[in-house]
Symmetry: C2
Subunit: 204 residues, 2 copies
């Protein structure tokens, strides 16, 4: 069973803070009324839709897509049901779960149930990101378009990205139950960028 946990990319989709200039724009270059082929181009912000962040997104002179290792992007993952959490995921919310070294943790929150951008989206608190760093996780996935908000200096991003932990954003986990899965989240191979789109799936 394959669970598609990716956000559908289309021109009216949600964007971070609903910024209109970050909505995808499609351009039809040819179609069957004027050509023998149908051909489209798209303009996409690298942080719209399901994507991986690289350190440069938040860290000056940080690593880009060029230094990516594909190994940790294929492997086990744990979906945590945090649908009852409001505002931010705190250490106390995570302590009831069995989180161990090497885990890729996906947070299922109320964000997954809205196709509109939630200005109060549930995010990962700085303290919880340090807790997960100490646990030795390899990746953290969120069903918001950003893994944090309202934290001066972006400490959650920096705690994770500064320590080689993958950040996967824009997941859709509504139809996935809490539990263990096999995750595939391979980003497009783009040169020297701070984020890249991905078709993310879970396999049970």
């Amino acid at each position: 069973m394959i669970y598609d946990i990716s956000m559908l990319i289309h021109e009216d989709m949600q964007t971070y803070k609903n910024t209109v200039s970050n909505k995808p724009v499609f351009k039809n270059n040819a179609n069957h009324s004027n050509s023998s082929v149908h051909d489209t181009s798209v303009t996409l912000n690298l942080h719209t839709g399901t994507h991986v962040d690289y350190p440069l997104h938040m860290i000056e002179n940080g690593d880009t897509s060029d230094s990516e290792n594909l190994e940790p992007l294929i492997g086990s993952a744990k979906v945590l049901d945090l649908t009852n959490v409001e505002d931010s995921i705190k250490v106390a919310d995570l302590m009831r779960f069995d989180i161990v070294k090497g885990d890729f943790i996906l947070f299922k929150t109320k964000n997954s149930f809205s196709e509109d951008f939630l200005s109060d989206f549930v995010y990962l608190s700085k303290e919880a990101s340090v807790y997960l760093l100490d646990k030795g996780i390899r990746g953290a996935g969120t069903d918001a378009l950003g893994i944090e908000r309202s934290q001066e200096g972006h400490p959650t991003h920096k705690t994770l990205l500064g320590n080689g932990i993958i950040i996967l954003e824009g997941l859709r986990l509504k139809d996935v139950d809490e539990g263990s899965y096999h995750l595939i989240c391979l980003p497009l191979k783009i040169k020297g960028v701070e984020a890249s789109h991905v078709r993310a799936v879970l396999i049970k």
Copy 2:
């Protein structure tokens, strides 16, 4: 062992027929000299780089990404060494291989050894596409940006796409030996389009 068989996306990369308007264009929206984040957008033709074609690309009113089934995009695949083939892959070139129902066949040709667009790129002949249809393959992958050229009416595309066979284009197979692998080629989830980008890998 993971083999990355995707083409690197960058502004100087090859495009079909070297069409300049199909080269990716990157726009930096923010960086660490003027913001606390680095943020980029990209404009991409859906047929530039490694991608999957859907029927609408060549067939009027054909299916789009909306009707995609993810199951056949994860599974076994066979790399065929056709590096000695010139011009086009013919039935005689394929007969020496063990090709069976359900196979996803990847053609390793001289195309994989050039980062420049080859105007005489090796393509799959119409007759060979019918041969593969009769074998019952589930997918065909090429290391050219198109699976055919110089065939009036695009019969290779239509034979495959018109019969539910996946076409994967723009692979890089230089570093992969002939043999059997586990293929992952999950396209970005874009609404209603005729092609979509993919990070394709082979696992041994």
